[in-house]
C-alpha cells in the first residue's frame, strides 16, 4: 500500500526507480507539448499559439508582480518548474505514481531553489553584502539566520512531499478498503481524487513556485 517507488533496474549501481521513469515520461510529454504549441509561430496566432501566449503572459505577470520588473529573466525557469510540478502532481489521476511523492525528487528541486537563492544573493550583493546579510538585524542572530536559511529547502521539499505522499497513502487505503464496499466504489474515490490530486496537486505546485520566487527575489535585495 505504501511501498516506496518500485525499482525497475540498476545501471552502474544506480537504481532506476518508478520516480525516475515517470519523471522522464512527464519530461517527454511536456517537451512534445511545448513543441506542438510553438510550431510555426505567426503574427496572427493560430489556436496552439494562443494557448502558448496565454501561458507565457500568465507567468510573466506573476513573475513581475512577485519578483519585480528587473527579475523577469526568472520567468522561463519558473514556468518550467510550474509545468513540471503541475503535471507530476496530477499523474496520480491516471494511475501513475507521482514522482513528487518521492523525497529525492522534491529535495532535488528545493536544492535548486536553495542554490539559486545563494548564487543570486552573492551576485547581487557581492561577498561582503552577502555575508553581512547573515548579521542582520543584529549580529547575535547569526546562528538563527544560518539555521533559518537551511530550514527553507527542508520545509519547501517536505511540504510538497508530505502532501503528495499523504494523498497517495489515503488513496491507496480507499482503494484497498473499497473491495468490501462495492456500492460506494465510484463516488468516494472521485471526491478524494478531486481533493488530493487536483486541488492539493495544483495548489502545492503553485506554492512551490511562489515560494521559490519570493526566496530568490528577497535574497537579492
Amino acid at each position: 500500500m505504501i511501498n516506496g517507488p518500485r525499482i525497475y533496474a540498476e545501471v552502474f549501481g544506480i537504481p532506476i526507480t518508478a520516480t525516475m521513469v515517470n519523471m522522464w515520461i512527464i519530461m517527454a510529454g511536456i517537451t512534445l507539448l511545448c513543441m506542438f504549441l510553438t510550431r510555426n509561430l505567426k503574427r496572427v496566432p493560430g489556436k496552439p499559439q494562443v494557448i502558448a501566449e496565454m501561458i507565457v503572459t500568465g507567468i510573466n505577470n506573476l513573475t513581475e508582480s512577485t519578483m519585480g520588473k528587473q527579475n523577469m529573466g526568472f520567468a522561463p525557469y519558473m514556468l518550467t518548474l510550474f509545468m513540471y510540478l503541475g503535471v507530476a502532481n496530477l499523474v496520480g489521476l491516471v494511475g501513475m505514481r507521482p514522482p513528487t511523492a518521492d523525497l529525492t525528487m522534491t529535495f532535488a528541486l528545493s536544492l535548486l531553489t536553495f542554490f539559486m537563492t545563494q548564487f543570486f544573493a552573492l551576485k547581487a550583493k557581492g561577498i561582503g553584502g552577502y555575508l553581512k546579510g547573515y548579521l542582520e538585524p543584529i549580529p547575535l542572530l547569526l546562528p538563527i539566520n544560518i539555521i533559518g536559511e537551511l530550514a527553507n529547502p527542508i520545509s519547501l521539499s517536505f511540504r510538497l512531499f508530505g502532501n503528495m505522499l499523504g494523498g497517495l497513502i489515503i488513496m491507496g487505503l480507499i482503494y484497498g478498503g473499497l473491495t468490501s464496499l462495492m456500492h460506494f466504489a465510484i463516488a468516494i474515490p472521485i471526491v478524494a481524487h478531486l481533493y488530493f490530486d487536483l486541488f492539493a496537486g495544483l495548489l502545492q505546485s503553485f506554492i512551490f513556485v511562489m515560494l521559490s520566487m519570493v526566496f530568490i527575489s528577497m535574497a537579492m535585495e
Binding site: 500500500m1 505504501i2 508582480s65 512577485t66 519585480g68 538563527i144 539555521i147 533559518g148 530550514a151 527542508i154 520545509s155 517536505f158 511540504r159 508530505g162 502532501n163 505522499l165 499523504g166 497513502i169 489515503i170 487505503l173 481533493y195 486541488f199 492539493a200 495548489l203 503553485f206 506554492i207 511562489m210 515560494l211 519570493v214 528577497m218
Partner: protein
Amino acid sequence: METDFIQASIDFIMSYDTKVIIACASVLGAGLAMIAGIGPGIGQGFAAGKGAQAIGDNPEQGKGITSTMLLGAAVAETSGILALVVALILIFANPLMNATGGVLIIGGSAIAAGISMLSGLGPSIGQGYAAGKAAETVGTNPKNKPHVTMLMLMGQAVAQTTGILALVIALILLYANPLVSVKGEFLILMATALGAGIAMLGGIGPGIGQGYAAGKAAAAVGVNPKNKKNITVVMLVGQAVAQTTGILALVIALILMYGNPLADVDGSIIILAASALAAGISMVGGIGSGVGQGYAAGKAVEATGIRPDVQSSITRTMFLGQAVAQTTGIYALIVSLILMYSNPFL
C-alpha cells in the same frame, strides 16, 4: 528500586493476555482521538455567533448568511468526522488486533494514532473562524457572495492540510506500522510510536493560523472583489509559510517511524525511550509559530485587499515577520534532532 518500578509496571501489563492489552490501548486511543471534538465545537460556535450577529445587522440577507455559515461550519466539522472514523476503526474494526509483533509497540501505536488525530482540533477552530467571517461579509456585501464563498472554501481546504497529515500518520500506525518489524527494545519502539503521534500535535497551530488567514481573505474579497487575484495569492503564500512547523512535525514523525536512530543504539533503554518520546513532544512547540504566522498572513491579506498596488511590500514584510515568528519552531526541530542524532546522555 527506581528501575524496578518501570520493570514492575511492564510486568504488570504483560501479565495480561496480548489481546486484552491491545484492546485496552485501542479504547484509550479512541478516547484520545475524540478530544479533537474541541475544535469543531469552538469553530462552529464562532461561525454561528457571527452568523446571528450578521442577520441582526442585515436581516434581509438572512438566507445568504445562513447558507454561507452552514457551508463553512460543515467544512469545520471535517476533522471531527475524521477523528470519529479513526475512533470507530479502533473500536469496531481494529486492524491491530490481528497484528503480529511486540504487544507494547502495537499498544503504543493504537494510543499514538488517537493522539495524532487529536491535532484535528486546530484546523476546525481556524475553519470555523473563516466560516464566521465569511457569513459576516455576506451580510454586508451580499452581491459578492460567490467570491466570498469561493475564497472561504479554498482557505479552509488549505487549513485542513495538517489535519490530513495527522490522519496519514494515524493510518500508517494502524494499517502499515513499520515499527512492528524493527529489531529493538519494545519499550523504545513504543515510545517512538507515541513520539510520532505526539509530534503531529504541532499541526494544531498551523490549522488555527491558516483558518484565520482564510477568514480575513473571505472578508477582504467581499469588500474588494476586484482584488480577488492579489488576495488569493497572498493568502495562499502566507498560509504555506504558516504551515511550516506542521511540516517539520511531519518530518520528525516520519524519521521516528521509518529511520529512528535510537532504535539500534546501545545505551540505557529508559533514556533512549525517553529521548524518542521527547523528540516528538518537542515538536508541539510549533503550535505557537503556526498561530502567529497565520495571524501575520491574515493581516497581510486584509492589507492587500485595500492596497493591491503595494502587494510586494506587504508580502515582503509578512515574510520577514513570519521568518522571525518561526524561530522557536526551528528551535523545537533542532532539539528534536539533537535528541535523536547526537544525544549527550547516551
